[in-house]
Amino acid sequence: MTKAINTDTASVSGVSKSFNHNLVVDNISFKLRPGEIFGLIGPNGAGKTTTIRMMMDIIRPDSGEIFILGESFNELAKNKIGYLPEERGLYRKLTVIDILIYLASLKGIKQSTVSSRVEELLTLVKMLPHKNKKIEELSRGMGQLIQFLVTIIHDPQLVILDEPFAGLDPVNASLLKDIIGKLREQNKTVILSTHRMNEVEELCDRILMINKGRSVLYGKLAEIKSRYRSNSIILVFDGQLPKLDGVKSIHEHKNHVELFLKEGFSPDEILAQIIKDKIRVYRFEVAAPSLNEIFIQVAGEI
């Protein structure tokens, strides 16, 4: 147990929080490991932001325990966490460079190294020419990039991003995705909180899905997807399908057909039958439900 705490970037166990007798977060537990992008997902109002705020010690849980980097939350931990809140904002009257230096120094960066770090990051997002502009002179997307830089300026071990792509154009969004990917390579832990399942499918290694404050899915993304596989095959072809052993039923869709398999049959057995019949196959795919579909299915069960 002690060992587990030491290797985890963070562990949240049995945490609950209610506001005005409304249970917003209900007995949530999860662990974060180094070098992973962790998706905290769920619809709006599911309790994602409240969970994050509890991790950041902005609000305190009614019950449960939270350990960050092996310790319960303390002021020193704040220097090792980068947090991009959902509600965005910066001092509008200050220049880019002044804000970055001030907020970086509040994260405990030494005065001597802060300037070079600021230049390095501004170069990374190609905003060095704007360093002396005031925030109010920047576009919304640019301001958001600056805020992202604030989040990672102190090279934190744990980066918490609440809806980081909201409001970004595709170019900046992909820039951000690259940087997040690099953080994973550097063995950092990234929490990505979002209600957009496609971003999660693209980036995340493991996920926690919450709905109405409760944990509904938790684990490796690939495992979850295979667990919710409907045991069907998507097929696009030319010709006439023969009678196939092991196929329970066939659903005709607009551009493809979906073959539902009987228990105990695997997709490769079906493929072998199809190829034997000399049918021209354009696409043969083991149907994996999207996270969206899984979510709708899971949320419907509750």
Binding site: M56, I58, I59, K78, Y83, Y91, L106
Partner: protein, 406 residues
């Protein structure tokens, strides 16, 4: 560097670079200079401070007034007849003239002729005419000292005695009240301007949503203390600049209205006690205002709520008027000295009018410090709970429940 120090430095630098702050800092000295300028212009057009000598003609019908001592700013010219004096006035040889009638010794009436439309002569002119008459009336008196006493009969030197009849070093009257009044005024100003900047800053950080970033870097206590001290230092700097410019301006004005400032004698320990209470008082009110800033959703609402704080701060002035003016050692003075909200102002006033026992001062400072620490604790709690709740003012019951929960 310590995070609190970083916030202090940041808030201080941001404040002193604000246009509004710079303008406020400059406006007071400039206004004072302008006021003195206007004062001098107005006085220059009057008779009290003439640039040229004022000439006054006189016709002496009693033949008793022969001594004509010279004055620096006035000249008295004798004319034999009223017609001559009248002609001199029309020709502008004299500015005005007076006639000493035959029955002056009995009636004491002087006739004054002038082209100016005014109800009574200016103080300068009446003094010079009076002095001229006195010089002549006292001419027969040999004793020079008695002559001088008749002209300047008295100057009060008031000594305040305590209950046992011993001399106390308390000041009385104007000079006793002016310093407490200045300190009190400065404290109210400091509270007002600091609360303005504090609430504006908090409001901005709430509206900009930067608060969450700040709180993910520092603790609420660091943020609160940093803000209060950073802005307070800025406010103190402003007041020091005002005081320095006030010294220069008073020196500049000492010929005109500065006379009264020369009378001010600073009681021993006043400056020390004054500064201690000024700083403690500022800190106490600032942390309470930060708490108000935390629970009110908009800057406007929080500023309305701070009025409720300023009122008790100035309450001691009324206590003075109703209770202490006639009885400086009234028990109510002690009570309000010990209550943190009223302590600074009450102490300023009482320092001016009587002695404050040392135990009262120590106890009052102790309560004030407890009040500040309690205020920091309370405001930090309120910060935690309410700063992230945008656009919703809490009810009193909710505040109490939230405090219990956290």
């Amino acid at each position: 560097m310590n995070k609190t120090l970083l916030i202090i430095k940041h808030e201080f630098l941001i404040l002193i670079r604000r246009k509004g702050f710079i303008i406020m800092t400059l406006v007071f000295p400039l206004l004072a200079l302008t006021a003195i300028g206007i004062h001098q212009i107005v006085q220059g057009t009057g008779d009290t401070r003439p640039t040229e000598k004022i000439t006054i003609g006189y016709v002496d019908k009693t033949n008793l007034f022969n001594v004509n001592t010279p004055y620096t700013q006035y000249e008295l010219i004798e004319y034999v007849t009223e017609e001559e004096a009248n002609k001199a006035l029309v020709d502008e040889a004299v500015d005005e003239y007076v006639i000493i009638p035959v029955d002056y010794i009995n009636a004491g009436v002087i006739e004054r002729y002038t082209q100016k439309k005014e109800l009574e002569p200016s103080p300068g002119i009446s003094w010079v005419v009076k002095d001229f008459l006195l010089n002549n009336l006292l001419e027969g008196l040999d004793n020079q000292e008695v002559q001088l006493r008749v002209k300047y009969p008295l100057s009060f030197n008031t000594v305040i005695l305590d209950e046992a009849g011993n001399i106390t070093d308390a000041e009385s009257g104007f000079s006793a009240f002016i310093l407490p009044a200045i300190f009190g005024f400065l404290l109210i100003m400091a509270i007002g301007s600091a609360s303005g900047y504090l609430l504006q800053g908090l409001g901005e950080e709430k509206e900009n949503r930067i608060m969450e970033i700040l709180l993910s870097s520092v603790s609420t206590r660091q943020l609160l203390v940093g803000k209060v001290i950073g802005l307070g230092t800025g406010g103190l700097l402003q007041i020091v600049l005002w005081l320095i410019s006030a010294v220069f301006i008073i020196r500049l004005a000492s010929n005109t209205i500065g006379g009264m400032f020369n009378q001010i004698q600073i009681p021993e320990n006043f400056i020390l006690i004054g500064i201690v209470y000024f700083i403690l008082g500022y800190l106490f009110f600032a942390v309470l205002e930060a708490g108000i800033g935390a629970i009110s959703p908009t800057t406007k609402e929080s500023q309305q709520m701070t009025v409720a704080l300023i009122l008790p701060a100035i309450l001691p002035f009324y206590i003075f008027i109703f209770f202490l003016r006639d009885n400086a050692d009234h028990i109510i003075g002690t009570i309000f000295t010990l209550i943190p909200v009223t302590a600074p102002m009450m102490v300023f006033i009482r320092l001016g009018i009587s002695e404050i026992p040392i135990w009262e001062l120590l106890l009052s400072i102790f309560f004030l410090v407890i009040g500040i620490l309690g205020g920091v604790w309370l405001a930090a709690k309120l910060f935690r709970v309410y700063l992230l709740m945008y656009g919703k003012a809490p009810k009193m019951g909710e505040i109490i429940r939230m405090l219990k929960q956290s």
